[in-house]
C-alpha cells in the first residue's frame, strides 16, 4: 500500500509517535482526508464526522472505509435481504441463521452442520492463483469461527469464453490456487460448477463453499463479553497484503482491465495453507479446552472487522493496543494494520485465568498468539498506538450501523426485446444425423464437458468420509461412521436463465440444487447463496438483484427451506458491461444413512430407465441455443415448485426404499446429456425410445425432471411410488450394452461419447 499513498498513516501528528491521534483530530477539524480514495462518499464521510463529533483520525477513517464498504456492510443489498429474512420458512433445524459467520443446522444425532458460500471474484481476476487460494482460506475460517471442524469445500467457477487467451491465464491459475490451498489444508473438494460465458471475460466468478461439523453444544459466538476478558490475536503475523481488499478491490468496478488489475495487485492477499491447517487444529483444541468466550475470523477488513464486530455483539467496549499486533513488516502504522487482510488469523476472547492455557495450546501448534487488548464496559472501541489514543468510536457504528441504500431499481426496456427473441424460432437439427451431431457438440462444449481436468487436481479423498463427489449430482459426506448419518451438498446457478428472468432464474437455481441433493437420496434441509451481480448503482442491475432475491425468498418459502446465510458480490462488471446476474444457490441435505446413496451411473443391466416429470418444448436459455446458435433469448423453463417438491420426495423415497440404483437430475442439455452422463459414469449403455418429437425430448430443458434406473424387480413398487406423489413417469427403455441407443435417432458407442466428453478441457488448458 506504500506505493498508493492513500493512507497517510505516517503523517506527522502532535504526539511523539508521529500518528494522527484523537487529540490531533479534535484540534485540526479542517485537515483534508483521503476518504474518496478509500471508497467513501462525501455524505458517508460527513456522517462519520457527525457520529464522532469531530473529524475521524486516519486510523478511524481506515476502519469506517472498510467496514462501510459494500463488501462488508451490504449497504445496497440490505433492504432486499431483510425481505428474504422476513419471508423465510420457519425451521426447527436452524440453530444459527443469517448475520452469523455462517448458518448452522441440526442434522440429528446431536450433530450440527454449518455451511456457507462466499465470493472471491475480483482478487481471482487480478491474481488468479492467490485470489482463489485465499478465497478457500477465508470461507474455511468462517466455518471454523462457528466452532465447527471444516470437513469439505466446493467451488463454483465461471470464466470468460473457454478459448479466449485471458481465460487460459485465469482458469489454470484459479484451479491451481484452489488445489494448492485446499489440498494442503486437507479438505476434500467434493463438487461445484464450471461454466464459461462471454459476460465473465473481464470478471470471472470464484465462489468457494465450506461445510463444517460440530456437536450442538460446540456452537461458538462472535461476541466479546465480560469486562476484563482478554482479546487475543492468533495465527499469522500481520503484513501489508490485502490492504483495502474489501473496499477498493471488492467494492468497485474494474476500469481498464489491464491497468486496473496491475494497480490493484497489492490489494490481493497471499495465502499460507500450512498455517491455516495449524490454525484449524489449534482452534479445535482451544474449543475442546472450553476456554473460548467468543471468536471471530479475520477476513475482509481484518482487525477492523474482528474488533468492531466482537465488541458490538458483546458487552460493547474493547480496548486494543495496536502496537502489540505482531507484524511481518515493522514499518506498518495503525491504519495499515487495521486495513490489512493478511490471511490465517483469528481473534478470540478468553478469561484472564485462561490466558496461560490458551498460550500453551497455541505454542503446541507453533501458532503465534498475542494478547492485544481486553473487553471493557465503556461502550467504546478504543485503540492506542504506543500509549496515544488513535481510535475512539462506538463499535456498532462501524459494525452494524453503516449506511443503507434503497437504490433505484428499474426493469430495463431491453428486457422486452430479449424475452421476445424466442429460442423456439431457431433452426433445429434435421434428421437422425443432426440429433447425433448436436448431442456430441453439447457433450464436448466447455460447459458440459467432463470436469476431470479440474477435479483431478483436487484431493477428494482426504479425511476418508467422501461418499460422492463430481461427477455425481451432489457431494455426499459421511458424518457419523456408526449410524451412517451424512450430508449432501450441491451448488447451482444458470446465469442464462437469470438473465432472461431474474425471478424465475433464482428459483430454477434453487430447484436444481434441491433436485441434485434429492437425486442422491438426501432430504434438502437448508440453503445458502452467493449473489453475484454488476454495479448496484445501475438501476437495471438493481432490478435484477431485487427480482432474484424476491424469487429466492418465495422459492425457499414454497419449498419450506430456511436460508442460513449468504454473500453478496456487487460490482462484477468491467466498465459498463455487467455480468449476467448470477445467483449461485447452495443446498444442504441430510442422509439418514449414506449407505443408501444413489449415484448418477447406470450399473445394472436390465434396469428400467424412467423419466420423471413433464417434458415441454422449452429452449429459452438452453445449452442447445447457447452452444449451437450462440443465442440467448425468450423465457427460461417454467417454474413449478410443487412439482419440484413432489419430484424431490419421490427421489428420496426411491433411494431409501432401494428402488433405484441410478438417479440423475435433468438440467443443461436436457435428457440427452443426462443419459450420456449416466452411461459414462456407470460404464453401461442404454436403449431408449422417445414418446414424441425427439428434438424436444432430447434437448428441451423443462425443469422438475430426473432420469432414474429402476432396480430389476422393483418396477411396480416404483410405479406406485410415482403415482402416490403425483409425479409423471415415462418408461423410456432399459440399461445395458455399450452404446447410448436412442431408437430411430442414433446409437453412439460409449467410447466415442467418452472421447468427446473428456477431450475438451485438457485440449484447452493443458
Amino acid at each position: 500500500m506504500a506505493e498508493g499513498g492513500t493512507v497517510s498513516s505516517r503523517a506527522p501528528g502532535a504526539a511523539g509517535t508521529g500518528q494522527d491521534t484523537v487529540e490531533d483530530a479534535a484540534c485540526t477539524p479542517e485537515r483534508a482526508q483521503p476518504y474518496a480514495e478509500l471508497g467513501l462518499g462525501t455524505a458517508e464521510y460527513e456522517r462519520i464526522v457527525a457520529i464522532l463529533g469531530r473529524r475521524p483520525t486516519d486510523a478511524e477513517l481506515a476502519i469506517y472505509s472498510v467496514m462501510w464498504s459494500e463488501h462488508c456492510s451490504y449497504k445496497s443489498s440490505k433492504v432486499h435481504l431483510r425481505r428474504l429474512a422476513a419471508t423465510m420458512a420457519r425451521s426447527d433445524a436452524l440453530l444459527a441463521g443469517m448475520g452469523q459467520n455462517a448458518g448452522v443446522v441440526d442434522v440429528g444425532h446431536g450433530y450440527a452442520v454449518t455451511f456457507k458460500i462466499e465470493s472471491h471474484n475480483h482478487p481471482s481476476y487480478v491474481e488468479p492463483h492467490q485470489g482463489a487460494a485465499t478465497g478457500v482460506g477465508g470461507i474455511v475460517r468462517d466455518i471454523l469461527a462457528m466452532g465447527a471442524r471444516p470437513v469439505a469445500v466446493m467451488d463454483s467457477l465461471r470464466f470468460g469464453p473457454a478459448d479466449a487467451p485471458d481465460t487460459r491465464r485465469v482458469v489454470p491459475g484459479v484451479v491451481g490456487g484452489i488445489s494448492f490451498y485446499g489440498n494442503c489444508l486437507g479438505l476434500p473438494n467434493i463438487g461445484g460448477e464450471l461454466a464459461f460465458d462471454r459476460c465473465y471475460a473481464g470478471n470471472p466468478l470464484v465462489n468457494a463453499l465450506c461445510v463444517g461439523v460440530m456437536r450442538h453444544q460446540d456452537l461458538k459466538s462472535a461476541a466479546a463479553s465480560g469486562p476484563g476478558n482478554k482479546v487475543i490475536l492468533f495465527g499469522a503475523h500481520t503484513g501489508p497484503d490485502g490492504i483495502g481488499g474489501a473496499s477498493v478491490l471488492a467494492s468497485a468496478t474494474f476500469g481498464d482491465a489491464s491497468a486496473g488489475s496491475a494497480a490493484k495487485r497489492p490489494s490481493v492477499q497471499v495465502g499460507d495453507p500450512f498455517m491455516e491447517k495449524l490454525l484449524v487444529e489449534c482452534c479445535l483444541e482451544l474449543f475442546g479446552a472450553g476456554i473460548i468466550t467468543g471468536i471471530q475470523d479475520l477476513g475482509a477488513a481484518g482487525v477492523s472487522c474482528a474488533t468492531a464486530e466482537l465488541a458490538a455483539a458483546g458487552t460493547g467496549g474493547m480496548r486494543v493496543e495496536l502496537d502489540a499486533v505482531p507484524l511481518r513488516d515493522p514499518s506498518l502504522g495503525p491504519a495499515e494494520i487495521l486495513m490489512s487482510e493478511s490471511q490465517e488469523r483469528m481473534m478470540a476472547v478468553t478469561e484472564p485465568g485462561s490466558v496461560a492455557e490458551f498460550m500453551r495450546i497455541c505454542a503446541g501448534w507453533d501458532v503465534p498468539a498475542t494478547v492485544i487488548g481486553e473487553v471493557t464496559g465503556t461502550g467504546r472501541l478504543v485503540m492506542t498506538w504506543h500509549g496515544d489514543v488513535v481510535v475512539d468510536i462506538p463499535p456498532s457504528t462501524a459494525a452494524d450501523e453503516g449506511p443503507v441504500y434503497d437504490r433505484p431499481a428499474q426493469r430495463p426496456a431491453s428486457q422486452d426485446a430479449l424475452a421476445a427473441d424466442d429460442a423456439a424460432a431457431l433452426p433445429r437439427p434435421g434428421g437422425a444425423a443432426g440429433l447425433r451431431d448436436t448431442l456430441l457438440a453439447l457433450l464436448g462444449s466447455p460447459d458440459l464437458a467432463a470436469k476431470t481436468w479440474v477435479t483431478q487436481q483436487y484431493d477428494r479423498y482426504v479425511r476418508g468420509n467422501t461418499v460422492l463427489a463430481v461427477p455425481d449430482d451432489a457431494g455426499v459426506l459421511r458424518i457419523d461412521e456408526d449410524s451412517g448419518l451424512g450430508v449432501a451438498l450441491a451448488t447451482d446457478g444458470n446465469a442464462r436463465y437469470t438473465r432472461l428472468d431474474p425471478y424465475a432464474g433464482a428459483q430454477l437455481a434453487l430447484a436444481e440444487a434441491c433436485r441434485n441433493v434429492a437425486a442422491t437420496g438426501a432430504r434438502p434441509l437448508a440453503v445458502t447463496n452467493c449473489l453475484n451481480f454488476g454495479s448496484p448503482e445501475e438501476p437495471a442491475v438493481m432490478w435484477q438483484f431485487a427480482e432474484a432475491v424476491r424469487g429466492l425468498a418465495d422459492g425457499c418459502a414454497a419449498l419450506g427451506l430456511p436460508v442460513t446465510g449468504g454473500n453478496v458480490s456487487f460490482y462484477n462488471q468491467t466498465d459498463n458491461a455487467a455480468i449476467h446476474p448470477t445467483p449461485v444457490v447452495g443446498v444442504l441435505g441430510v442422509h439418514d444413512d449414506v449407505r443408501d446413496r444413489v449415484t448418477i451411473g447406470f450399473v445394472s443391466p436390465g434396469a428400467r430407465v424412467v423419466l420423471l416429470g413433464e417434458t415441454r418444448p422449452e429452449f429459452g436459455g438452453s445449452a442447445w441455443a447457447h452452444v449451437m446458435h450462440g443465442h440467448l433469448g425468450g423465457s427460461p423453463p417454467r417454474v413449478n415448485l410443487i412439482s419440484e417438491r413432489q419430484l424431490d420426495h419421490t427421489l428420496m423415497a426411491a433411494a431409501a426404499g432401494a428402488m433405484v440404483d441410478a438417479a440423475h437430475d435433468l438440467s443443461d442439455g436436457g435428457l440427452a446429456v443426462a443419459l450420456a452422463e449416466s452411461c459414462l459414469r456407470g460404464g453401461l449403455g442404454c436403449q431408449v425410445r422417445l414418446p414424441g418429437d425427439p428434438f424436444v425430448w432430447l434437448f428441451g430443458e423443462s425443469a422438475a425432471r430426473a432420469v432414474v434406473a429402476v432396480r430389476p424387480g422393483r418396477e411396480s413398487a416404483f410405479t406406485q411410488l410415482c403415482a402416490d406423489h403425483g409425479v409423471p413417469a415415462t418408461v423410456l427403455g432399459t440399461v445395458g450394452g455399450d452404446k447410448l441407443d436412442v431408437e430411430g435417432c442414433f446409437a453412439i458407442p460409449l467410447t466415442e461419447l467418452a472421447a468427446v466428453h473428456e477431450h475438451t478441457l485438457p485440449a484447452l488448458f493443458d
Binding site: 491451481g176 488445489s179 494448492f180 489440498n183 494442503c184 486437507g186 499460507d272 495453507p273 500450512f274 498455517m275 491447517k277 495449524l278 501448534w365 507453533d366 477435479t455 483431478q456 487436481q457 483436487y458 484431493d459 477428494r460 479423498y461 482426504v462 479425511r463 476418508g464 468420509n465 467422501t466 461418499v467 459421511r478 449414506v594 449407505r595 493443458d766
Partner: protein, 227 residues
C-alpha cells in the same frame, strides 16, 4: 498389534491411516512429531499430507523431527515402517529408502483412482497380496514422480524391491512406472498411492488397500521378513 501413526504439523491422512489400522483389526497409536518416543509400537505409518507445509522439498524438514531420531534407528533394525505419499517422501529424505520423489511430469497435482500391480510380496507390508495382483487405490499427489539412478533402478528391480507399479496411463512420469519401493530388508516400504483411502467401497474405489494394514496387524513369524 499396535501400529503407530505419526502426526507432523501438516499431516492430513493420519486419521485415515488410523481408521484403516482399526478396520484391519489393529490398535492405532497416535505418535507426535515432537516426541522422542515410539510408545513401544509394533509398526509405524508415516501418513500423507504436507508436513511443515512442504514449502521446501517435500519431507525435507520432517526428516529432522524429533520422532525421526527414534524411528530411523528402529527401522534400521527391523521395525516395519510404511510411508504413504508424504511419508514415502520423508523416508527418502531420511535415507531409509533410495531415490526421490519429484514434481509430476504434467506439473499438476493428480487425484485419480489408480490401477497398480503388486510386484513384490516379500515385504512386511505386501505379503497379504499375490505377486502380479492388480489393485485400485487412489493416487493424489503433486510430487509423486519417482526418480533414482540407473544403477539403483536396476538394483531395485533385481532385488525385488519394487513393490508396486502404475498400470494404464502414466500418471506422473515415475521411472519404470514405480509406485512404491522397499528397503533391502523389506521392513521399510514407501508407496505413493493411498491404500488407506481404499478400505471400503463406500468411501473409496475398492477395499484393495486393506492388505497393507492387515499385514502389519497379523504379522506372524512366518510373515515377518528377516531384517
Amino acid at each position: 498389534m499396535r501400529v503407530g501413526i505419526v502426526t507432523f504439523p501438516g499431516s492430513l491422512d493420519d486419521n485415515d491411516a488410523a481408521r484403516a489400522v482399526a478396520r484391519a483389526g489393529g490398535e492405532p497409536v497416535r505418535l507426535w512429531h515432537a516426541d522422542r518416543d515410539l510408545r513401544g509400537v509394533d509398526a509405524v505409518i508415516l501418513p500423507g499430507g504436507f508436513s511443515y507445509g512442504d514449502y521446501l522439498r517435500c519431507g525435507a524438514i520432517a526428516r529432522f523431527a524429533p520422532i525421526m531420531s527414534e524411528l530411523v534407528p528402529a527401522a534400521r533394525v527391523g521395525l516395519p515402517v510404511l510411508g504413504i505419499c508424504n511419508g514415502f517422501q520423508i523416508l527418502c529424505e531420511a535415507h531409509l529408502l533410495p531415490g526421490a520423489l519429484t514434481r509430476n511430469a504434467g506439473l499438476h497435482f493428480i487425484n485419480r483412482d489408480q490401477r497398480l500391480r503388486i510386484e513384490s510380496t516379500g515385504t512386511a507390508w505386501t505379503y497379504h497380496y499375490t505377486p502380479g495382483q492388480e489393485i485400485v487405490v487412489p493416487l493424489k499427489s503433486g510430487e509423486g514422480r519417482y526418480v533414482a539412478s540407473a544403477a539403483m533402478l536396476t538394483d531395485l528391480t533385481d532385488g525385488g524391491r519394487v513393490i508396486a507399479r502404475y498400470l494404464g496411463r502414466d500418471p506422473n512420469g515415475s521411472a519404470a512406472g514405480i509406485a512404491g519401493v522397499s528397503n533391502a530388508a523389506g521392513n521399510v516400504v514407501g508407496l505413493m498411492p493411498h491404500p488407506e483411502h481404499a478400505i471400503d467401497t463406500l468411501t473409496g474405489p475398492s477395499a484393495d488397500g486393506l492388505g497393507f494394514f492387515a499385514a502389519a496387524v497379523s504379522r506372524t513369524t512366518a510373515g515377518q521378513v528377516s531384517a
